[in-house]
Each structure stands twice: as structure tokens, then as C-alpha cells.
């Protein structure tokens, strides 16, 4: 097509407008595609590259991967020491496992709290349903940081909960809750609960609830109905919600930093301090790659499920 265009005697402006008319689809596609290639894919490979470099005291603080040894002879230098270092140092392995543990337990709590809530919202009347959904979505739009900060006020030694406990005579001295793992769990469950409820709700809304009545008409007990009918039907929602909580919670930085203090090690926080305080870019990049490896399976599973969802539509 472009060959034909070049043969025509046209002014440049006509040429551009004709080219646009013929190729507007490519242009529409090209703009976001190019943006993502430059600002999403390229940086990712850069992290991979730097994670395989050696740390040196220089700007930038890492060795080049490709060195020109002689005229035109390329020497590719790859160091896997950074990953070996992560593996050998107990701090990193423990932090890694601890992050996965914390986000797994938090996901389970989100599910235990979120499932009955989503179920209750689906079974409410139309007006109540709209209002309740609004109330679930609202925290989603308000500042994440401020919601974490709000818990600092509740959990502090002189915080609302301790003041209440002392006033009720349950305890004389404040119980330390802020800067403990407990605070981190509460923070994650609190901030990610809407991420669990919304996919569950979206899934439950589409279900055929007459199946439940059929099951109970046929004599199934409520528990049996739940485990044999309700739970299997809502499983896609359970998985989507769990992944939406688990994935970001594993790499969480703000919550362990503000609510956990220095006492709770999570991988996102280690990455941050490795980069900013230790200025060890290769190790920080290796931590990023390791974190990504932990999340690549859940992320692919989520994408796969979203793809199925879009196809179904």
C-alpha cells in the first residue's frame, strides 16, 4: 500500500493525510505499544541486566555487562553472584519466606471476612445493594497511605484501642500492637479487603441462585449445600479475589514500614532499603527479580482467568 502512495504526485501534506487514512489502525496501535515497550518492557530488562552485574563504587554503581575487549570483540560478562548471595544469606531467604507467609495468611483472613460480606451484598435488595457496594468501593478511591496511617492511631501504645482497654479495666499497661507482626496483618487485611470483596461480588452476581433452592428442596443440609453447590460455583471469584490480595501484599512496602517498624521483614521493604540506603543496585535488582519469580505464577494465573472472563463476554 505504501508503494502505491509513493508513486502518486502529491504534496507532503496530502501524503501524510492519505497515509493516515490508510494506516490509522497501525497508528492507534503504535502509540500505546511503543510507550509500553519503552517504559515497561525495556526497564524490566534493565533490571534483569543489572541484577547480573557486579556492584562497584562508581556512577552508576554496577559493572557493564558487555565490554569491548578488543576491536569489535564483545565480551559478555554475567555474574550470578548476586543471586547466590541472596540464597546464602539467611536474611534474604527468611524475608522472602516471611513475605509469602504474611500475604498468604492475610489473604485467608480477607477471604473469611470478605466472602460472607460479598454473599450478603448479593442477597440484599436493589437499593441496599447499591449503597453497600458504594461503601465497599469508597475506601478503594481514598488514599491508601492515609488508611494505613489511620491504623497507627488505633494501634499505638497511647492509641484508641489501648485507651479503650485501659478504660474498661481489661489491662493496666498498654499492650504493644504497633510495630508488631499483628499490626502488619491487620493493615494488609484492612487495605486489601475491597480487592477481595469486589471480584467475589462480580462472580456471585452472575450465579443462578435457584440451584441453592433446588439443593435444599432435595433435602441437602445448609452445610452440604454450601460445600457442594455454593463454594464450587463461586470458586472463580475466590481465586480472582485471593490473587488480587496475595500478589500486591507480597511486595508490600508501606504497611510493613509504617505498622511493622523494623520488626517485620518483608521483601518489598528490603528491596527499598537495599537500593536507597545500601546503594547496592545489583542486589536490589536481584531482589526484584526474585520477588517477580515468586509472583509470576499467580500473575499468569490471574491473567489467564481475566482472559477467559473477557472471552466469555
Amino acid at each position: 500500500m505504501s508503494g502505491q502512495l509513493e508513486d502518486l504526485p502529491l504534496t507532503p501534506w496530502h501524503r501524510i493525510s492519505l497515509a493516515f487514512q490508510h494506516n490509522w489502525r497501525s497508528i492507534i496501535l503504535f502509540i500505546p505499544f511503543a510507550w509500553l515497550l519503552i517504559f515497561f518492557l525495556a526497564p524490566f530488562f534493565l533490571v534483569l541486566k543489572i541484577s547480573l552485574a557486579e556492584a562497584v563504587i562508581a556512577t552508576p554503581p554496577f559493572t557493564p555487562m558487555i565490554e569491548w575487549v578488543d576491536e569489535g570483540v564483545m565480551h559478555i560478562k554475567v555474574v550470578i553472584d548476586n543471586f547466590a548471595y541472596l540464597w546464602e544469606d539467611d536474611l534474604y531467604v527468611n524475608t522472602y519466606l516471611n513475605s509469602v507467609k504474611i500475604s498468604t495468611i492475610s489473604t485467608i483472613f480477607c477471604l473469611l471476612i470478605g466472602y460472607p460480606m460479598a454473599y450478603g451484598i448479593v442477597r440484599s435488595g436493589p437499593t441496599a445493594k447499591n449503597i453497600l457496594l458504594m461503601l465497599i468501593i469508597l475506601p478503594f478511591w481514598t488514599s491508601f497511605l492515609l488508611r494505613v496511617y489511620a491504623w497507627m492511631g488505633l494501634l499505638a501504645d497511647q492509641g484508641t484501642i489501648n485507651n479503650l482497654l485501659i478504660a474498661l479495666g481489661i489491662t493496666d499497661t498498654p499492650i504493644q500492637m504497633l510495630y508488631t507482626p499483628f499490626a502488619v496483618y491487620v493493615g494488609i487485611v484492612y487495605t486489601y479487603l475491597p480487592f477481595m470483596i469486589l471480584p467475589l461480588y462480580a462472580n456471585m452476581e452472575k450465579l443462578d441462585w435457584t440451584l441453592l433452592e433446588a439443593a435444599s428442596d432435595l433435602g441437602a443440609r445448609p452445610m452440604t449445600t454450601f460445600f457442594t453447590v455454593t463454594l464450587p460455583m463461586t470458586l472463580p471469584g475466590v481465586i480472582a479475589g485471593s490473587l488480587l490480595v496475595f500478589i500486591p501484599a507480597t511486595g508490600e512496602f508501606v504497611i510493613p514500614d509504617l505498622l511493622g517498624g523494623g520488626n517485620v521483614l518483608m521483601i518489598g521493604r528490603v528491596l527499598y532499603s537495599e537500593f536507597n540506603s545500601n546503594v547496592d543496585w545489583p542486589v536490589a535488582s536481584a531482589v526484584a527479580i526474585a520477588l517477580l519469580l515468586a509472583l509470576v505464577l499467580p500473575m499468569m494465573l490471574y491473567q489467564h482467568m481475566q482472559g477467559k472472563e473477557t472471552d466469555a463476554q
Binding site: Q21, W24, R25, L29, I31, P32, F33, W35, L36, L37, F39, F40, L41, P43, L46, V47, P60, I113, P116, M117, Y119, G120, N130, M134, L135, I136, W141, T142, S143, L145, L146, R147, Y149, A150, W151, M152, G153, L154, A156, Q158, N163, P222, G251, E252, F253, V254, D257, G268, L271, Y272, W281, S285, A288, L291, L292, L295, Q303, Q306, T310, Q313
Partner: protein
């Protein structure tokens, strides 16, 4: 009876869940009116922290920087996200489609520390090779925000397009409109509410981001979340409660208003459909 017991359980679950979600926010607002400097100890009603807030130069600078970034980000993200959504839903299969759809949805689930780190490394490398960006701040934060918020816009546009009836577009095409005309005159106007929703989401996402901005910002550029974070790291601060109250109430009023307008429009449409159904 069984049903009654079940619904009582569900009502309890919803009530406790809502209390869990809202009590911390309500307390944050209540303590912003506390006279005492120690946040959780009530010392009487006062609005003095709002006065402290309005006189603080750094807070104003951070707020205005954040709003500037959020507006520019929302416009670009809406443009790029809409193009991406159109390409994914309406262009059928094309070369690199899998890579494209992967790249557009990956930022949704990518941990922010990784996005932040990788973009910073890109900016530093670019600076070394082509001398741009010479300093990090407004531009680099905006670019980083566009990259992740365009993904959210694309998701909204994709779901709108998938749920949209194509009969108007087909009619225009049958009447001889060229595909590009159909896109500009029919598809884009129909997409406008989705684009508005995308713009608002991109705006709030940018206003809310701490981690990515911290990575890609340079000395001198402090956004509102960065300022809040640096202050609350050291403990509770009543002026931050006041700032938080203003932010939360502004967002809440905006969201409720938008939802109410959408709800009204939906009701209106249902009513019209009902009337036309009765007429025929």
C-alpha cells in the same frame, strides 16, 4: 426459619465488615479536630490544626505538584489507555497481540517496588546515553504514572467496548461511513462515559501513589504522599489528620456524587425503555 438465621448471620457479617472498614477512617477525621497535640488523647474540640495546615508552605507546594502531575497523567493515560483498549477489542488479531495484551495488564498486578525501581534505572540509563531526563521530578513522575494508570484505563475501555452493542457502528458503516469516521463519530462518543471514568481513576491513582513517585523523583520534587509519608514515619501528627480529612472528604463527596449521577441516568434510561416498550 433457616433463611432467617442465615440472613441474620449475613447482616452481622456485613455490619462488622463495614465497621472494620470505616471506624479507622472516622477516627482519623475525629482526631483532626482534637485540641491536644497527642493524636489519640482527646483534649477538646479545635480546628487549629487546619490553620497550621493552611499556613504550611511545603504542604501547599506538595499538593500543587501532586495535582499538576495527576491532571497531566490522567489526560495522557486516558488517551493511551483508550487507544490500547480500542486496539485490543476492535482490531482482531495482529502481530504482537499477546505481548501487547500482556504488557497492558501486567502493570495492574506488578508490585510497585519493581515498577518504581525499573523505571528509575531506565531514567538513569537514558540520562547517561542521551542526556535526558537531565533531572528527575515532575516529568519522570508523570511518565511513570502514565505507564501504570493507562493499564487501568485500558481495562475500563475494554470492558465498555465488550459490553457495547455494535449496531450503531454497523449502521453507520452500512450507510457508507469509512471506518475512521465510524470511530470518531460513533464509537468515541459512545465511549465518553468510560473515558471519563478512566480519567478519574487515573487522576486518583496518581494522587495516591507513594512508592513509584519516591523511586523516580529527584531532590526538590516532593509529592503529597511523599510529604505525608515522611512526616508520619516518625509518628502520629494532628496536622496530617487534618490534611487526611480534607482529602478523604473531597474524594468521598466526589465519588458519591458521580455514583448518584450515574444511578439517576440509569434509572432514566430504564424508564425510557419501559415507556417505549409499552408504546409498542
Amino acid at each position: 426459619m433457616n433463611n432467617g438465621k442465615r440472613s441474620r448471620f449475613l447482616i452481622t457479617a456485613i455490619s462488622f465488615g463495614m465497621a472494620f472498614l470505616y471506624i479507622p477512617i472516622i477516627l482519623l477525621i475525629v482526631y483532626s479536630f482534637n485540641k491536644s497535640k497527642i493524636v489519640p488523647v482527646w483534649g477538646g474540640f479545635s480546628t487549629k490544626w487546619y490553620g497550621v495546615l493552611f499556613q504550611s508552605e511545603p504542604i501547599w507546594e506538595a499538593v500543587s505538584l501532586s495535582i499538576k502531575i495527576a491532571v497531566v497523567n490522567a489526560c495522557f493515560a486516558t488517551l493511551l489507555g483508550t487507544l490500547a483498549g480500542l486496539a485490543l477489542v476492535r482490531f482482531g488479531s495482529f502481530k504482537g497481540r499477546l505481548l501487547f495484551s500482556g504488557m497492558i495488564s501486567a502493570p495492574l498486578v506488578m508490585p510497585e517496588v519493581i515498577t518504581g525501581l525499573s523505571l528509575l534505572l531506565l531514567f538513569i540509563t537514558l540520562n547517561q546515553f542521551i542526556g535526558w531526563p537531565s533531572e528527575r521530578g515532575f516529568t519522570t513522575i508523570t511518565i511513570a504514572h502514565i505507564t501504570f494508570s493507562m493499564a487501568y484505563v485500558a481495562v475500563i475501555i475494554q470492558s465498555r467496548l465488550a459490553g457495547m452493542a455494535q449496531d450503531l457502528e454497523e449502521a453507520a458503516q452500512d450507510l457508507g461511513a469509512k471506518p475512521f469516521r465510524v470511530l470518531v463519530d460513533i464509537t468515541l462518543p459512545l465511549l465518553a462515559p468510560g473515558m471519563l471514568a478512566g480519567w478519574l481513576l487515573a487522576f486518583t491513582l496518581s494522587l495516591d501513589d507513594l512508592i513509584i513517585a519516591t523511586f523516580v523523583s529527584g531532590p526538590g520534587a516532593v509529592t503529597m504522599p511523599m510529604l505525608i509519608y515522611s512526616r508520619v514515619r516518625l509518628g502520629l501528627r494532628p496536622d496530617i489528620n487534618a490534611l487526611g480529612t480534607i482529602i478523604i472528604l473531597t474524594v468521598a463527596i466526589g465519588v458519591v456524587l458521580a455514583a448518584w449521577i450515574m444511578f439517576r441516568q440509569q434509572k432514566q434510561r430504564e424508564l425510557e425503555m419501559q415507556m417505549s416498550a409499552e408504546e409498542s
